[in-house]
Symmetry: C2
DNA sequence: TTTATTATACCAACTAGTTTGTTTAAATTT
DNA sequence: AAATTTAAACAAACTAGTTGGTATAATAAA
């Protein structure tokens, strides 16, 4: 065998993610990545066939962690399953906690890619939409469970209510970056939680 | 006099905005702009000293239109001033109408720039944050007026509730582009309207 | 246990093309 | 005559990607 390439590959992934949030993908040159990682061009192209292959590997890793966080929040709130509304609110609270006390405004690679879509191949963009749809499925199930014991005070469209969580995440990321306000994301997830609390009321027995 | 350069300048602004939504700012070359507009390099640099000067002119024009739309929605709902809640809801409804029946998913230049901030000078980025803060001021005033005759059912932070509108706009833009769903933005503005409707209840007379 | 072998990981220099921006002189409008 | 636009050549820096060779470390043969 030879030496272990994983640390190098991981360094490339980590530093290029940081650079993409600063410069965008197009605005990030391979030379910049080499400077930050301290590796050479040969090493870079050994690990990634093209710059675009890096983009793809990055979004795959990012989406994997994203779904992991989602599932971890589901697990952590399993004890609340007896009351589906409590569970839904607890699920959101997990992300409020996650987004509290950050040292800088957070961002999302989905949004970064989405605002320069022509730079990426179909599969890369599809991976983003598929991951967002996983969030939709999860949120839909959580809300459906609530609707078994609760009435919605207003007419709601299940799908768009399910998507609303991702919408607020993405919007809060943009605004927190634009206003350089690191606590903003947690604040807006609280509004999401409020919204869910206000929508549902216990079913009356007819 | 000489001839009128405005049509050329406007064509540059219009086409480069389209291109930036496709490729990002870094990913958009001046040659691409020349191709789409059919003008020459000399003409481009006659109107804009640098590529960055174009970025600045673009965001200034975009922000000006944005604030114009905001003020037009304020004017259109002035007749509802007698009930501040009706007015707030009507204000949001104006944008629901605006975002209904679009032919393609909308996007926002603020978000586009925000995800490659290093490409722009301080003034350009500041113009974005200042414009978002104008939205904050407007929404804060609308909400303050509501609070004179209505109680909030939950404890709310005025500033973050005011920002929530821009957050939902920006988030809906990202997700609508990512999922290629043109009606999504209107749907999520409806959730915003729901939220406002659910928060407030008429003040009881103590 | 030393010596080859092999696959992996990495490096330094190079290439071909693209980028923004400049320059200059002539042509075209109003 | 003044303002705008074309056409075309040019430069300096930067771009993604290639090449030929080297280093590392585990393994296999002597």
């Amino acid at each position: 065998m030879g030496r272990d390439g994983k640390p190098t590959r991981d360094k490339i992934l980590a530093e290029s993610k940081t650079l993409i949030f600063e410069n965008g993908f197009s605005g990030t040159s391979i030379d910049q990545i080499l400077q930050r990682t301290g590796i050479t061009k040969g090493a870079f192209f050994y690990h990634f066939k093209t710059k675009n292959a890096l983009a793809r590997a990055l979004i795959e890793e990012y989406a994997k962690e994203d779904i992991l966080h989602m599932n971890q929040a589901l697990e952590k709130t399993e004890n609340l399953k007896s009351d589906a509304l409590e569970r839904l609110l607890g699920f959101i609270q997990e992300f409020i906690d996650m987004m509290s006390g950050l040292s800088e405004p957070p961002g999302c690679l989905y949004a970064s890619y989405t605002y320069e879509p022509s730079q990426f191949d179909k599969e890369t963009l599809q991976h983003i939409s598929e991951t967002i749809l996983k969030w939709r499925d999860t949120m839909q199930q959580l809300i459906k469970d609530v609707l078994k014991k609760y009435n919605a005070k207003i007419e709601i469209d299940l799908q768009s209510l399910a998507d609303h969580t991702v919408v607020i995440f993405e919007g809060a990321f943009v605004v927190s970056k634009a206003l350089n306000s690191k606590d903003l994301t947690a604040d807006h997830l609280k509004h999401l939680k409020n919204y869910f609390e206000l929508i549902f009321e216990p079913k009356s027995i007819d």
